[in-house]
């Protein structure tokens, strides 16, 4: 599989990362190097093999924890909002989306 600069722009949009036209060629080339590496997997026969989504999937499935549905965290909104680039009256501010 090899990407074109157009396909790159589509992926970049999905990833919400701006890729400027002047860097698109280099980024595409580097990504294609990596895709060349991972394309080796296509040749492997994995018939009948279950996907392994987690390092200890068997152990973790056996001990999925549940806890009582209780409030365990205190309200630290003011402290958390102190980290944000823009807030107002307890709300996180972003550019206007609806006119």
């Amino acid at each position: 599989m090899s990407l074109t600069p157009d396909q790159l722009q589509r992926i970049a949009l999905l990833a919400r990362i701006a890729v400027e036209p002047d860097e698109a060629r280099v980024v595409t080339d580097r990504l294609n190097q990596v895709l060349g590496l991972i394309d080796q997997l296509q040749a492997v026969d994995t018939g009948g093999i279950e996907p392994m989504s987690h390092a200890l999937d068997a152990q973790l499935e056996a001990q999925q924890r549940l806890r009582p549905d209780e409030v365990t965290e205190p309200d630290r909104r003011a402290e958390f909002q102190g980290l944000a680039p823009a807030v107002d009256q307890g709300l996180y501010l972003v550019p206007k989306v609806i006119e």
Binding site: I38, Q42, T46, A55, V94
Partner: protein
């Protein structure tokens, strides 16, 4: 004192030969003198460290001290620390001060350890050379023109240069073991789920695991006693009885079965690295251990599997950096979508963006089955290789890295060459298995070589025992690098 192990410093503190304040000052002075050259630390807050040391000395005076009380420890800048910034090596978090401590930090605080500073690392732990850090590369204390390894390169260089007696790291595909090998220190990646990931900034959540770096295996065991343990805030933290990781330090080597995977002793590995590793294995044989040739036939597929799974998970984990709640936000943008795109283009470096794009691609419609699901299936084949191998041996040994430290810039323009450097460290985390690296000699240029020891799930104590026995008979781990003279 600078060249003492944590075990020795702990005894000196207990015997009142030195105070934590004196010890902390010693290392802070050393950092002040050498960090300009090595760039191992991103942030040091001397006042804060000395205040913690004073508290540790008071605690000791009250008779309330444990083995790590008063010991200065450096933390990889991926662990969130309240009141001192946590950057993860990224512009995205260059000014971020976490409102909470990681579980690992809470554990060290509870043990009375002193936070000596936050160490440099590849951006978001994505790298094998520490060259992707927004804060500049770390230099290898054995040769300033070479990399210390990565991503925990600052932690490895700090321990190697005796800027810190011990440090924490994280390992996703080798990020503790490979820098430990290239910098000539000891480092352990525990079994997945043993150390809580709470407050450890996520890269690839099914692989990420915190662990210690120090001079000796005995030190790693002491540090593990503090770091490991159940934490309900990490949904993959394992509920197990507490372990004493020092319990097997007197491990009987006679009859120990050491598996040697033929794929780890193949062409493509630096012959000097193979010689040093074989010499170390011969020492184990001289103590009565038996070597068994084993095969891990899917080793060659581990790097491609990793570069599907880790970027896929990263693309999801790093979507939280959107310029809304914390971190960098672009100044100029047209609308909300443009704000996200520019914030992330500016805040992330080239390697992080590359991995997010790869991850987005392999998870996208039409490619998910061919890449992501296929990689998960091959991941199971790799785990199966290990379970078959551990039916025939107790521990697996081989090189940690196919070469000694490479030159700065040597591999940074070719991502695939950089990735292949991790061929021997990537398989264990894919299977969730523990692995460690200890120094086992030097090449002709005087660069350290690492011996990797892997074990079955929860075999850390046995691995540390084997490593400790070797370190009692050798002094590779006590040699100090020439660029950081004692």
């Amino acid at each position: 004192m600078l060249n003492s192990t944590v075990t020795e410093l702990s005894a000196a503190l207990a015997a009142k030969q030195v105070s934590s304040v004196e010890l902390t000052k010693l290392f802070l002075d050393r950092i002040r003198g050498l960090n300009g050259k090595l760039n191992a630390f991103i942030t040091v807050d001397e006042e804060r460290s000395l205040a913690q040391a004073t508290v540790a000395d008071e605690r000791r005076a009250r008779g309330d001290a444990g083995p790590l009380t008063g010991i200065p420890v450096a933390h990889k800048d991926i662990f969130c620390t309240r009141g001192i910034r946590t950057t993860c090596g990224s512009r995205m978090l260059a000014g971020y001060v976490s409102p909470y401590d990681a579980h690992v930090i809470e554990r060290f605080n509870a043990a009375g350890a002193v936070l000596l500073g936050k160490t440099n690392m590849d951006e978001f732990a994505m790298g094998s050379s520490n060259e992707t850090s927004h804060f500049g590369p770390v230099r290898n204390p054995w040769d300033l023109g070479r990399v210390p390894g990565g991503s925990s390169g600052g932690s490895a260089a700090a321990v190697a240069a005796r800027l810190a007696p011990a440090a924490t790291g994280t390992d996703t595909g080798g990020s503790i073991r490979q820098p430990a090998a290239l910098s000539g220190v000891s480092g352990l990646k525990p079994t997945y789920g043993v150390v809580s990931r709470y407050g450890m900034i996520a890269f690839a959540s099914s692989l990420d695991q915190g662990g210690p770096l120090a001079k000796s295996a005995a030190d790693l065991a002491l540090l593990m006693n503090a770091m490991a343990g159940f934490d309900a805030r990490d949904s993959t933290s394992l509920e197990r009885p507490a372990e004493d990781y020092t319990r097997d330090l007197k491990l009987e080597l006679a009859g120990l079965r050491i598996g040697l995977p033929k794929e780890y002793f193949a062409s493509g590995v630096d012959p000097e690295v193979l010689s040093r590793v074989r010499e170390a294995i011969r020492w184990f044989e001289s103590q009565g251990a038996k070597t068994v040739e084993i095969t891990l036939p899917n080793t060659g597929l581990a790097v491609p599997v990793y570069y599907v799974i880790a970027p896929a998970e990263a693309s999801s984990n790093l979507s939280r950096f959107d310029g809304v709640r914390y971190g960098h936000r672009a100044k100029d943008f047209a609308d909300l979508s443009d704000m996200y795109r520019r914030t992330r283009a500016e805040g992330f470096g080239a390697e992080v963006k590359r991995r997010i794009l790869i991850g987005t691609y392999v998870l996208s419609h039409g490619y998910y089955d061919a890449y992501y699901l296929q990689a998960q299936k091959v991941r199971r084949l790799i785990a199966k290789d290990f379970s078959e191998a551990f039916a025939r041996c107790d521990l697996i040994m081989g090189p940690t890295s196919p070469s000694t430290a490479f030159a700065l810039g040597e591999k940074s323009s070719d991502p695939v060459q950089m990735y292949l450097n991790d061929i021997f460290t990537i398989p264990a985390p894919l299977a969730g298995l523990p692995g460690l690296s200890i120094p086992c000699g030097f090449d002709a240029r005087g660069l350290p070589v690492g011996l990797q020891i892997m074990g079955n799930y929860f075999a850390e104590a046995k691995m540390l025992g084997a490593a400790h026995r070797y370190q009692q008979a050798t002094d590779w781990h006590l040699r100090a690098p020439k660029e950081a003279p004692l």
